[in-house]
């Protein structure tokens, strides 16, 4: 069933990977450029990595981005999981369908419309309560939670549906409170969905530019916003240096994750084999 790749398939994969990675290779190459140019290579140097360390603004924007991504994805995951449980329990077809349609809006809507619509709301509320500098961390957090929520809900919901609804009831019959039943029975069986949702919202929030662009204020600058204002001028290779560091950090994490998964599977298989032998 799982066959070896034919040479043609291999070639195809290589071509697509080349397409996906060519610009990233360019980026890595130019992060070592000796001159300020991002189009003419003039010898190797690590000066941009050094200047990056001294660039407080960029480092602050990286921390800001991480803070925002962690907060928004955690809040969205908790709220979204609860929402999925609630939606799954809805009996009224119409209410359920309406809720799902509303949930889909931030996914279907162009980001620019989502960003603009939220900015209009924030500015209006800001002028209502007389707070002129309403745009900032809070508004960005709200916006990020909002566009993360549907991704969490839509990855948890299928897992809930796959789960045997009798399981939590059985647990309760055996004396669990509903809360205990949720934490002991439901939660473990939907945990993969929750993890997927968390990962997705973290990723989306980390890389979001359009929605942040419209809901940000001067007091809280994230990395994509900073890069945007830079790409208008001249992107100096230190941004490439930063991206290169991020690239290798993620690569390292992903490899680590992969290896641990492979190990886990092996251990499981060994255990099963031993169980079979006994």
């Amino acid at each position: 069933m799982k066959t070896k790749l034919s040479p043609l398939s291999k070639l195809y994969i290589v071509l697509i990977m080349f397409f996906l990675y060519a610009p990233i290779l360019v980026m890595i190459l130019f992060s070592f450029n000796a001159s300020v140019s991002t189009s003419v290579f003039q010898g190797f140097s690590s000066r941009w990595y050094v200047s990056l360390i001294h660039d407080e603004g960029t480092i602050r924007s990286v921390t800001n981005t991480l803070i925002l991504a962690v907060c928004s994805s955690l809040i969205a995951t908790v709220m979204g999981t609860a929402a999925a449980v609630g939606i799954n329990a809805m009996r009224n077809k119409f209410i359920k369908k309406t809720t799902m349609n509303v949930t889909n809006i931030p996914m279907m809507n162009p980001e620019i419309v989502t960003g603009i619509s939220m900015m209009l709301l924030f500015v209006f509320v800001g002028s209502l309560v007389g707070k002129e500098d309403v745009l900032g961390f809070t508004t960005m957090l709200i916006a990020h939670i909002t566009f993360n929520l549907p991704y969490v809900i839509l990855s948890v919901l299928p897992k809930l549906r796959q789960m045997d609804p009798n399981l939590p009831e059985a647990a309760m019959d055996l004396g669990c409170t509903p809360l205990q039943a949720f934490f002991k029975v439901t939660l473990p069986s939907i945990s993969t969905g929750i993890t997927t949702g968390l990962m997705m919202s973290f990723t989306l929030s980390l890389d979001d530019f359009v929605i942040s662009y419209f809901t940000q204020g001067p007091s809280f600058e994230t990395l994509p916003i900073r890069i945007f204002s830079m790409t208008k001028k001249r992107v100096t290779p230190d941004m490439y240096a930063l991206s290169t560091i991020i690239f290798f950090a993620i690569l390292f994490l992903l490899i680590l994750l992969n290896v641990s998964q492979v190990r886990g599977e092996k251990r499981l298989r060994n255990k099963l084999n031993r169980g079979g032998a006994a």
Binding site: S37, T38, S39, G126, G217, P218, K233, V235
Partner: protein
């Protein structure tokens, strides 16, 4: 080379300063400690402040933080109009903005600016008198000049054979695909306005229409409309010419010596960018300190070097380190080299609306593409064909079921 020279000079002067343990800035005591820990939001043009310690320059914001303990949130805008929209529509408050002349006139008129007395600032006396009491701020109650500049034509000598003297070269088909145009209505309109002999501040409906038509005619020859992207495109030789600000030419020339500059004979725009405090500012005292700090001889000098625009600060022109720049005929032209100049003035609301309508139309021009319509037609046809095909199939299947069940 100029920068290296500056480096040695500044290092020497720093050493000198260290030996005598004199304070680096004037009136340091004036700043005091009372605002330490506060935050100000500064909204400025991109690449419009020195932000590096390389080559003997100073990171101005960092120096300000060191001196006063006030934290600076520094953000940039691309055009006067962008900045105006941000201030006008609220949502964010800024303590310092640096608009150009005509925008100051407009914002003051609309009550968006804070009035203050610049004579309170100890370094205010450095401002050249010829930039005071200007038409946009006759009583000097809203603004303190920061930079002066003019718009000229930057061109790449390797790509342009002749020595241009007229804006008309931007309509020369020889350079099709190599011409960049400035991406903001006022500055873009200014060029045809001068070619046609109109004023920048014309409100005449027909004149505006002529100008817009010229820009539409020019569009097929353009590589693109740019603002700050101009640095990358000109430095790398991707484009041959662009109308842009003189200070930015000085920076580009450092990177690509093939670039040259000219003030076309028809006339050019001269502008003053000045520091203002918006009405929505939260920290007016700290903002005033910031303005005063930018007027400090040491800071003004480093900025003049870094930004490359003409400085309205007399101390800069008197500085020995600046001698070479002070003689630059593009920055500080003498009588003989002075081009025809005109300032932008604020325009009445109807003209502004007309400007933005025409600008939209220019942007939309040439958007029609027959292929797109054909593509849509074909797609729609395929969709309809597929839907009817599936419908027919479905009916056929149903018929077959009917046929079987009737048997």
């Amino acid at each position: 080379m100029m920068k290296k020279l500056l480096f040695t000079l500044v290092t020497l002067s720093l050493l000198f300063a260290c030996c005598f343990a004199a304070s680096a800035y004037e009136n340091e005591a004036w700043y005091g400690e009372q605002n330490a820990g506060k935050v100000i939001n500064v909204f400025n043009w991109g690449e419009y402040i020195s932000d590096t310690y390389e080559d003997g320059m100073l990171d101005v914001n960092k120096e300000f933080e060191k001196l006063t303990g006030i934290h600076v949130n520094y953000v940039t805008f691309e055009s006067n109009e962008d900045m105006y929209a941000k201030i006008k529509n609220g949502g964010a408050s800024y303590d310092i903005i640096i608009p150009s002349d005509y925008m100051i006139e407009r914002m003051a008129k609309e009550g968006l600016l804070q009035q203050f007395d610049p004579n309170e600032l100890p370094n205010y006396h450095y401002i050249d008198r010829k930039y005071l009491n200007m038409y946009y701020d006759p009583d000097n109650s809203y603004s303190v000049p920061y930079n002066v500049g003019m718009v000229g034509l930057i061109y790449n000598t390797k790509m342009v054979d002749e020595t241009p003297t007229s804006w008309k070269i931007m309509w020369d088909e020889k350079y099709a695909g190599k011409i960049l145009m400035i991406d903001n209505p006022r500055d873009a309109f200014a060029i045809p306005q001068k070619i046609l002999g109109y004023s920048f501040n014309s409100t005449d409906e027909k004149e505006l229409a002529d100008v817009a038509q010229m820009l539409i005619d020019q569009k097929p020859l353009l590589q693109s409309y740019v603002m700050d992207e101009v640095f990358n495109k000109m430095e790398s030789g991707e484009a041959a010419m662009v109308p842009y600000y003189v200070g930015d030419y000085m920076i580009m020339h450092d990177v690509n010596p093939d670039l040259a500059f000219v003030y076309p004979e028809e006339g050019v725009n001269i502008f003053v960018d000045a520091m203002c405090i918006p009405k929505s500012a939260k920290n007016i005292d700290a903002a005033k300190m910031y303005i005063n700090f930018l007027l400090d001889p040491e800071i003004a000098l480093t900025n003049a070097w870094y930004i490359g625009y003409a400085s309205p600060n007399t101390s800069v022109l008197e500085s020995e380190d600046y001698e070479e720049m002070a003689q630059n005929q593009f920055l500080y032209p003498d009588e003989e080299h002075m081009p025809n100049v005109e300032y932008f003035h604020n325009l009445p609301q109807e003209t502004l609306t007309r400007f933005s309508q025409l600008w939209n139309e220019i942007k939309l021009a040439g958007g029609t593409n027959v292929r797109v319509y054909v593509g849509f037609g074909v797609t729609a046809f395929v969709i309809v064909a597929y839907l009817s095909y599936t419908a027919v199939q479905k009916r056929r299947r149903e018929k077959w079921y009917d046929f079987r069940s009737s048997k």
